[in-house]
């Protein structure tokens, strides 16, 4: 006879195996590894919560300490491969297969383990794709998540850094999986319930709060004049003419400069209220001056940011907060918002090729994608119109009848022509291609495909790729803003001049940008301390960003 509830039966037996370590749902920290060895089975799909911000670090360490005789051949499905333990699990033979989205500091070690055959790679995803696959073909049998606090029944408060938790728990708990939460503390009464207790199987009080990386904190003191110039170009040459109201920013210094120029340069251009009102964005400290100056109407966040919690609490008109007053972030929803409800993504990258493809991987680093490819892509399923979307669509396709013309999301790559250590931003071929060959991947890890990119901004000017009519024009438009890199110097000067006359390339002088304005004193805040001051003392930066 066919069994239709084998998953439920399996879950019951896992729970039974774990029961000896639990009092109700609560398990002692010292039994964490034993619990995992009891409820996880060899070959399971396991998700350790962790992205570019929060980390279920205690549970990651507990799994890495497991006996590889008992636990082996696991298939890790997780947003981030960020902690050393995430890779120890592979090195120790506990896990074999990996599907993930982001890796920052571990990108070199991942590459080594991939080359060494210790990791069998499924695919590198965007966050949203990986969440989607949790519901289709990568559903976890066991999820190890992180919350701020739990009550006696096992309800969870995930708080400002809720991030990926709802997506992971939804997929696991409702498909017969086991959810194990590490919490900073167990309390009698939670500030609010983010995850109800009947979706949670075990709760372990950690010896220290789960780790959160202040990834979105950019010190204004490190912003250069050329970055300010690129920011002025973006504001005057893209934000203003398209009237971009709904947007997402990357985490680089160029976009931090834009945020800090809105209340100064943007104000001077009379753009307040006309651009940059609605955001899918983490709580960037560098946006505080714009918020305080009344530029920002609303922000939905993927996660929180270290030190911003009190500020957010005091600005509930701007941020999404719970009845308790603290931020509620949600990566999956914010990624959807970035894809469908934003008219622009602007961010920086490490390499751009002659077709406009961009990538952040190099031959010895497999950095993953995070959310950028999702933000930085045209949403083909979008159906609602907006000014910037329609205008971009018209520029790309002036001849189609308006009623049948697709709009376009503005996907802007911004950066200086030379990056860190004088490495050129523009290259003939992406390192990603060589990496794909070396690892025998089906796809090169391209961050943003050239056909999604609409503009490239460097200190030399803006290339509007929507206005390019063929590949030649596209290539010369890119070369025309590639400065004194080898790519830039190999431009066809006459063709670049023609593109400039047509407005495909626009230089600072074409936009009436005074180079003398490219001055750090144009920034609304020039230090972290200034940001604290703007926030009225509500922003509490982590100590590594303080000098007081």
């Amino acid at each position: 006879m066919t069994v239709w509830d084998s998953g439920r039966i399996a879950r019951a037996s896992r729970l039974q195996a774990g029961a000896r370590y639990a009092k109700g749902k609560h398990v002692a920290r010292k039994d964490a590894t034993a619990l995992l060895e009891a409820v996880i089975q060899p070959g399971d799909r396991v998700c350790i919560e962790g992205d570019n911000q929060k980390q279920a670090d205690m549970l990651a360490a507990a799994l890495a300490a497991a006996d590889s005789g008992k636990l082996h051949d696991l298939h890790m499905v997780q947003s981030g491969v960020v902690l050393p333990e995430h890779l120890d699990i592979f090195e120790r033979g506990i896990a074999r297969r990996l599907d993930y989205a982001f890796s920052g500091p571990q990108s070199q070690r991942i590459a080594r383990l991939l080359f060494g055959g210790k990791i069998e790679l499924g695919a590198v995803h965007t966050y949203l794709e990986l969440f989607a696959r949790y519901f289709i073909d990568l559903t976890p049998q066991v999820a190890l998540i992180a919350a701020v606090s739990a009550d006696r029944e096992g309800n969870l408060y995930t708080g400002p850094n809720t991030e990926d938790t709802p997506a992971i728990v939804e997929a696991t708990a409702f498909k017969d999986g086991i959810v194990i939460a590490q919490v900073n503390e167990v309390v009698d009464k939670l500030p609010r319930i983010d995850i109800p207790s009947d979706w949670v199987n075990y709760v372990i009080e950690s010896d220290k709060p789960f780790y959160v990386e202040p990834l979105f904190t950019r010190d204004p003191a490190a912003i250069t004049e050329t970055q300010i110039l690129t920011a002025m170009l973006a504001i005057k040459g893209i934000y203003a003419p398209y009237g971009v109201q709904r947007l997402n920013h990357g985490i680089g210094f160029n976009t931090a400069a834009i945020e800090l120029l809105l209340p100064t340069y943007g104000e001077r251009l009379g753009l307040k209220g006309k651009v940059a009102s609605y955001w899918a964005l983490n709580p960037h400290p560098t946006l505080i001056p714009a918020i305080e100056s009344g530029w920002v109407k609303q922000i939905h966040s993927f996660g929180s940011e270290v030190g911003m919690d009190d500020y957010i609490r005091a600005r509930s008109d701007v941020y999404f907060t719970g009845p308790d007053g603290s931020l509620r972030s949600n990566r999956a929803f914010s990624q959807v918002a970035g894809l469908y409800a934003c008219d622009m993504f602007i961010g920086s990258t490490l390499q751009i090729d002659l077709q406009g493809n961009s990538s952040t991987v190099t031959t010895d680093r497999v950095a993953g994608f995070g959310g950028a490819p999702n933000m930085g892509s045209d949403a083909r399923g979008r159906r609602h119109p907006s000014e910037p979307w329609l205008r971009a669509g018209k520029e790309a396709d002036p001849d189609s009848p308006a009623l049948m013309r697709r709009g376009r999301k503005l996907v802007v790559q911004i950066g200086e022509t030379f990056g860190d250590k004088n490495v050129p931003l523009f290259v003939e071929h992406l390192d990603a291609i060589e990496l794909a060959r070396k690892l025998d991947l089906d796809l090169a890890p391209v961050m943003v495909y050239g056909d999604d990119v609409t503009h490239i901004v460097t200190e030399e000017g803006i290339a509007n790729l929507l206005l390019c009519r063929d590949n030649d024009e596209r290539e010369q438009a890119i070369r025309g803003v590639a400065g004194y890199t080898a790519i830039g110097r190999a431009r066809d000067a006459k063709m670049v001049q023609r593109l400039r006359e047509r407005g495909v390339i626009r230089r600072p002088e074409d936009l009436g940008i005074d180079p003398l304005d490219a001055d750090r004193r144009m920034l609304a805040a020039s230090s972290i301390k200034d940001l604290v001051r703007w926030s009225g003392g509500l922003y509490a930066p982590p100590s590594r960003f303080r000098n007081w």
Binding site: T224, E225, T226, L229, E416, T417, F418, N422, T458, E459, E460, G483, Y484, R489, R507, P508, E509, D514, P515, L516, A518
Partner: protein
Amino acid sequence: MEKLTYRHVAALRAKGTRDQAIVGVVASGNLEVLVERGLPDGECEVEIRTPVEGFGDVWSAVVVDFVGRSSPGGLKLSINDGGARPDMVALRLAQAVRAIEGERS
């Protein structure tokens, strides 16, 4: 220390009436540009002293573009380089011409 000198024909005489201006500072990744009048209206000279040797072709390209994009006729620009990237050099040259033009029109 490498010394490079470039002389170009300039299409237009630089605007404004100031005799000289100076922008930037000699620091790592930075440079100063002293700009002075005194050359014939159709000429422009750029003199560079840089501790980073062997990049004459890049300097030359930056200067050619600068002369083409700005109108530095009659100007002599003297650069003390602290090892700036070409993007910074281009910005400083543009700033120098703006500075000798005087206040925003």
